[in-house]
């Protein structure tokens, strides 16, 4: 029986009006990978903030014991001194600084306030070696990809002599390959005796690496599962998280597929800054009414760029190719033309590209189609309330009022507001870019149901996702994209993760035959 490294006992934390954590217990054994799971808003991040000292001692009740000693952290520095390091979901690197500068930021290799750069570089090399990142220490962070940035974060944690590493959704922004690397890295840390707490929504990752799982729901500990003892599968975990059996993760649907109504021919897009680089290369695709079409691909395959370039040239330079809608060629010079012609694009990153976070649900809902509730350029506020209420009810947006600021909503509800906005534009084609990223299992199911209803009402759906099971569960047909080209097209009945993966990793020189 391994020793208990960390014990959190009876943690209760309240915010004005909300009890975020109520009597939560967590026990982490030395040298294990301990997964912390729960729906969004279950209290995982709050618990970790209590642990790392973001919420100082005194602002919560309960005890934290680290290596058997009671701890009272005043701030993050206190917890880091004991070797508790947290890596947040949103990376905390400074993009303009180099890898070495980032790793030792706040912990500079210095004597009397003067930085010893040679020592810094040598130490950085060692750390990069450990995490398996082949970059120079003086490389500027903004020039490397998200996956590599994540590794820099981990190297930064290692530089602090970490005993307990907390990773909050480390793979949310990573593609399959980088995620795989990261998980393997965690397993190798385990051998070196570093204990990890992993927060993730991805069940397959959890079942792969975790030794035990603690499930939180509504701010309470539900259970702790031992992966070795109990026979734990994904469905068992989901049941703990949502408190009910989810027999199907994807809603049933009888596809009613109509005629082809939207076509893209020989679509080529160049990088806006590097004019000779092709980001999308000769893509052909077609979508039928009532059909859900997926686009699979690794990060950087050009999926978002393809979608945005179609959507009124919101991305890219020197775009060539043709778009056809209902048999007629259409040309979108800007986003508003695309919207008018019945195209909607639900963006990948709802906080940065999807919502005006400081505005309320009502205003966000109507923004893309204010003309619908206006008479000679004057907005009818009353009609707006009616429409927004309507969407709140139809999409079951959980909020006390449509006057709530969207910045205060949970991820799932934010995504529903974004969907409302685009459904309100009466589109024929909805392009959904990572529609369920960062959303918990329960809300995902609701989003899937909405997508299915949209398809059944005769709209075409083009869905971009990095989660292969989601594409397999939802789509009637899947295009596979790699390095700007479509490398394959698979029907639902023939699609498996293996087939998709094969096409996704296919390099240049292959095209759709």
């Amino acid at each position: 029986m391994a020793d208990i490294l960390l014990e959190m006992r009876g943690i209760t934390k309240t915010f004005p009006g909300v009890k975020a954590l109520s009597d939560v217990n967590l026990q982490v054994k030395e040298g294990e990978i301990h997964a912390l799971m729960g729906e969004n808003g279950a209290g995982k991040s709050t618990l970790m903030k209590v642990l790392s000292g973001v919420y100082p001692h005194g602002s919560y009740s309960g005890d934290i014991l680290f290596k058997g000693k009671a701890c009272e952290f005043r701030d993050i520095k206190d917890s880091e001194e004991l070797g508790i390091v947290i890596i947040h979901q949103e990376l905390a690197l400074i993009p303009q600084l180099s890898i070495a500068e980032n790793i030792f930021l706040g912990n500079e290799r210095a004597s009397r306030g003067v930085i010893n750069w040679n020592d810094t570089i040598v130490k950085t090399r060692e750390l990069l070696q450990t995490v398996g990142l082949h970059e120079q220490p003086d490389t500027v962070v903004s020039t490397i990809g998200v996956g590599k940035q994540q590794l820099v974060e981990i190297a930064k944690a290692l530089s602090k002599k970490v005993k307990l590493l907390i990773l909050d959704e480390p793979t949310a922004a990573l593609n399959e390959e980088d995620s795989e690397n990261l998980l393997n890295l965690m397993l190798s840390f385990k051998q070196q005796g570093i204990t990890c707490i992993l927060i993730s929504h991805k069940l397959n990752e959890i079942t792969k690496v975790a030794d035990s799982i603690t499930i939180l729901r509504d701010g309470q500990t539900i259970e702790t599962l031992d992966m070795k003892k109990d026979s734990i599968n994904e469905d068992r975990i989901i049941k703990g998280m949502v408190g009910r059996d989810l027999t199907h993760r994807y809603p049933e649907r009888e596809p009613k597929i109509g005629p082809v109504f939207f076509q893209v021919k020989d679509w080529t897009v160049h990088h806006p800054a590097q004019q000779e680089r092709k980001v999308v290369d000769g893509v052909n695709l077609q979508i039928r009414r009532g059909e859900i079409v997926g686009i699979a691909g690794l990060m950087g395959a050009g999926r978002t760029e393809l979608a945005m370039s179609i959507f009124g040239r919101a991305y890219g330079g020197r775009i060539s190719g043709q778009l056809f809608k209902d048999g007629k060629e259409v040309i979108f010079r800007n986003v508003s033309q695309a919207i008018e012609d019945g195209i909607a694009y639900v963006t990948e990153d709802r906080k940065h590209y999807g919502l005006i976070l400081m505005d309320d649900i009502k205003r966000n809902t109507t923004l893309a189609n204010l003309g619908k509730i206006s008479k000679s350029l004057v907005v009818n506020d009353n009609q707006e309330v009616v429409e927004a209420e309507n969407f709140r009810r139809k999409l079951a947006i959980k909020t006390p009022s449509i006057l709530q600021k969207t910045g205060n909503l949970s991820g799932g509800n934010q995504q529903k507001v974004v969907l409302s906005k685009w459904i309100f534009t009466d589109p024929d084609l909805l392009i959904l870019d990572e529609p369920t990223r960062g959303i918990d299992v329960g809300a995902k199911y609701e989003i899937y149901t909405i997508i299915n209803q949209l398809a059944d009402s005769g709209k075409g759906i083009l869905m971009i996702s990095s989660e292969l099971p989601e594409l397999l569960g939802m789509c009637d047909r899947i295009y596979v994209m790699s390095e700007g080209r479509f490398t394959g097209e698979v029907l639902r009945k023939d699609a498996t993760q293996e087939v998709l993966m094969k096409w996704m990793t296919k390099g240049k020189g292959a095209g759709v035959k």
Binding site: V335, T347, Y353, G354, I356, D359, L367, L377, V378
Partner: protein, 397 residues
Amino acid sequence: MRAELSKGQTGWSLGRLFKGNIRQYGMFIALLLIMLLFQILTDGILLKPINITNLILQNSYILILAIGMLLVIITGHIDLSVGSVAAFVGAMSAIMIVEWQMHFVPAMLLSLLMGALIGAWQGFWVAYVRIPSFIVTLAGMLLFRGLTLIVLEGQSISGYPRAFQKMSAGFIPDIPGDYGFHMVTLLAGVAVSLILIFFEWKGRMTQQRYGFDVLPLPLFIGKLAILLVIINLFTYVLASYAGIPNILVMLFLLIVIYTFFMRKTIMGRHIYALGGNEKAAALSGVKTKKMTFWVFVNMGVLAALAGLVFAARLGAATPKAGVNFELDAIAACFIGGASATGGVGTVIGAIVGGLVMGVMNNGMSLVGLGIDWQQGIKGLVLLLAVAFDLYNKNKTA
């Protein structure tokens, strides 16, 4: 769930009403308190009819600038050049009217057009070349101050016709006869009251037709009554001196038009959205560059108008006109609740903010505080007002 919600919505009370609107009313209350304070400190001079009239005349050009500045700030930008632009346009108007003997009406129109072109020039650099507005308008501030000095050759030009000066210094005409009061002013108060009652009642009827919860009738009448008393007290005070200043009519129209524009029109919404999140707005079909450009054009026109008003009030164009106007206009917006990061702010807020500054200037001068103390105190008030606003925001979030 539904029953609970509808209960929450109908549960009106004065406390709730106040709480929900504290951001909106907070500055009003602050303004009233400041007025009360100086009313006491000045032994009642502050609210004397002649002083109220003076207050309006003194602050008109800052309020005009504040309206334009509010739009700029909502889009997430800033305009440091407005004082210099006002001075330059004032100078050009003097050259056209005084030196070239042009009639003042076409000269004014040309001046406003000049303002629009200056706005377009700055808007081009900000919106299409994407140079930060701080830099573009800092350059503009120097450029147009320089041009002012050049065209005026360092001298003031005076000798505007009386008709032109009346814009800033005159009052609306009265019906002949001596009633002891300015009758048209009183009637204007009554007319505005009737119009207000009509629109408030119509709005209430429409909301009821949509099946929304409305304020309970007694509260509705109470709120309306307070507004009516304030309006008529105000016109009563003005009527006992010389009546409504011409410039107040212009300001009133500007406030009504811009409030309507920002609250009710699609373009107003697009400006808020653009300031709230430019990328999201662009991907929702808002033409962000075009909107930004036109907001600067609008600022240019209003800066030109402020320049004309100031020149008319002074009866002269001077090289020093408009110095620090931009700072007063910016301060007015922020005191009035606009957000420095864009996306938040109201026209009424900016006006109230401008009045807070104006009343303080006036009150402190009346008390006999030196300009040195005035500056310092105004600085602190700006800081405290924004801190108070942030505190409220965090509490309600």
